[in-house]
Amino acid sequence: MRILALPPEAPPMLRRLTSGLRRAALGAGALGVAAFAPQIARAATVHVTVAYYSAATGPYFKQMAAAFEKTHPGTTIKIDVVNWNNLQQVLQTDVSGGVPPDISIIGTRWLLSFVKDGIAEPLDSFMTPAFRNRFIPVFLKPGEIGGKVYGLPIAASARALFYNKTLLTKAGFPNGPKTWNDVIAAAKKIKAMGAYGFGLQGKEIETDVYWYYALWSYGGHLMGANGKVAFDSAAGVKALTLYKTMVDQGLTEPGVTNYTREDLQNLFKQGRLGMVITAPFLIGQIAKEAPKLAYGIVPVPTGTVQSTYAVTDSIVMFKASKVKKQAWQFLDFLFTKDNRVLFNKNEGFLPTTRAVAADPYFQDNKQLQVFVNLLPKAHFAPVIRGWENVAKAVIDAVQSVYLGKAQPAAALKTAATSADRALAQ
């Protein structure tokens, strides 16, 4: 049996292969060599897949694993760090290959598929009332499906507008813009100074979200009560027209369909961009990479209402896990106060537990408070199966509008039709 044990850094592919072999060997053992069986079952190994948030993610989880192993002899924690862009595919292949990890971080918007396919384990039987009470309720909600908790909020963020103080002061908005009209007025002045006014994301993941900011600010909704999409509303057209007008007037960076969220953040750090809407983790990046940049943070500009986008990532346990008890102990350990404070500080996320929120670091952090204060008005991505298809349809629509290939109303209508078709399947 020893021969088949792999080092922790073994890639999932290899793990899958050996686990097949191991299963075969176990089968053989059951037939005749049953005496070996106890030896195999003795030590528990918990495989944990985590998403790469920053360079600090891997070291943090390895540190957690080491600390946990010290107090739980006999349990080994193996951490796999996977890039966000590949995470879904990695889990998909692991699950269809029959060797999912025991615990994994996932995007909460994927959770429904995990639950419907019977892959995620409900956590209620493990959760004591005291454990449940550790969380801020609004963040526990997205991980709940059909009255059961499947995912714990490992990371949470909301969005707000970062503005370059130097540029915005010259443009007459030293305290940042409040409404879209402010944004336009400021961007015009900034354009005249030779910088880019408003950063508009037009490429890759979350290109749709960047447009939802405006949609929600005009009181629009993504989904209607009838289970069909509702973004092709008057508010939607207004929001898309707003962005398109800014593109046409040169108030954004040129070639918006060439800019990902990271590209915009880089422009902002270089001081070449006046305004960008993004998550609190930009604070940490600026502190590290552009400490001299003078900037401020204000809520997402309003059209008719105040709103923002809130996201949680969930950590889930897999139904196929053979070491659920140990896996749960590790989860419990991760959600203790000090471990959470360290994680949130490292990554720049918002607190998801009460104890962390009460920590002076977060209480006294004015910048983070902007995000926290927006939470009551936050929208989450709808928990519906096949959400990616809706996001994809919206991305295609807004890109064609930014490129001048389609008109806002028509593009949104097309996207709505194709999204509804995908959801109906």
Partner: protein, 293 residues
């Protein structure tokens, strides 16, 4: 068992093991894909109910799929014909004896030794609007006044991807052509010269006809490679913006791994197989017919 039957039996037994192995390697994935294409398949590959031809109907009803089929044909046609057009003169030059021939051959082969993904990344950086060398060069020699956002729209991004595709395909084709050229005996050129044929005539009347089997080989193999080539487009534009650079293989990947629709992805992959089979059959038939005197 008669003597003749026994004679036929032995060789079949001898090839049986490799035949079974090949059958397993080819047939198993094929069977799996074919099965997925007629079932409802969840994101995690769990088979639901029998779907009949629903997956196929769905992809054929998707306007993106239809546009992608045409774009894939343009992509394959442009890259393969471009590669052949570039490779022919290059291999003719490399076949001549000149000082530094070895170095020149190495330089032409070099892109082959770099992984496709890496080449694509390097070219993506080169065409970067703000920091890329292409914009920097064009601006410094005065061709451009403003940086061009090459990857922002399909009308510039797709031709660039085709150019990169040609660049990375040239070494392979040049290798085939050099092999072909070295198989042409030199005395026929001598005879042609004595008969008064110029270099141009020699090329059209001797080199090209004698190279034909090699050109055919290069076309068929390249069509298959380029048609299925994933890295260049995925790295440079991921099929975007607004699906404007999507080819079938990137569309398939997106369906399977981004949008969680493996059943439809399996249907796309069968459609791709059918397109390639039709092409290869027609092409080989044509070649065989025109090769007859």
């Amino acid at each position: 068992m008669t003597a003749s039957a026994r004679r036929a039996f032995a060789p079949r037994m001898l090839i049986a093991p490799s035949f079974v192995l090949a059958l397993f390697i080819i047939a198993y994935p094929f069977f799996d894909i074919a099965r997925m294409s007629v079932y409802h398949v969840s994101r995690f590959g769990i088979l639901g109910g029998f779907a009949g031809l629903a997956n196929f109907r769905r992809i054929f009803a998707d306007p993106v799929f239809i546009a992608t089929v045409w774009r894939t044909l343009v992509w394959t046609g442009a890259v393969v014909s471009g590669t052949i057009l570039v490779s022919l003169p290059v291999s003719l030059v490399l076949n001549e004896n000149f000082h530094g021939q070895g170095l020149a051959r190495t330089l032409v082969m070099l892109p082959w030794s770099v992984s496709l993904t890496m080449s694509a990344i390097v070219w993506l950086w080169s065409f970067d609007a703000n920091h890329g060398m292409i914009n920097a060069t064009l601006q410094s020699i005065g061709v451009l006044r403003q940086p061009v956002q090459w990857m922002a729209r399909a009308s510039t991004a797709f031709p660039i991807e085709i150019l990169v595709g040609i660049l990375v395909s040239v070494p392979f084709v040049v290798t085939i052509f050099l092999g072909g050229l070295s198989s042409i005996p030199s005395d026929i050129y001598e005879a042609a010269r004595i008969d008064g044929a110029g270099r141009v005539q020699q090329f059209w009347r001797l080199t090209l006809p004698l190279l034909r089997p090699f050109i055919s080989l290069a076309v068929v193999l390249n069509v298959i490679y380029v048609f299925n080539s994933f890295p260049i487009i995925w790295v440079m534009t991921q099929g975007g913006p607004a699906e404007g650079t999507q080819i079938l293989v990137t569309y398939l990947y997106e369906l399977a791994f981004r949008l969680g629709r493996p059943g439809e992805a399996a249907a796309v992959s069968l459609a791709m197989l059918a397109i390639l089979m039709v092409f290869t059959t027609i092409y080989v038939r044509m070649q065989m017919r025109s090769a007859e005197p």
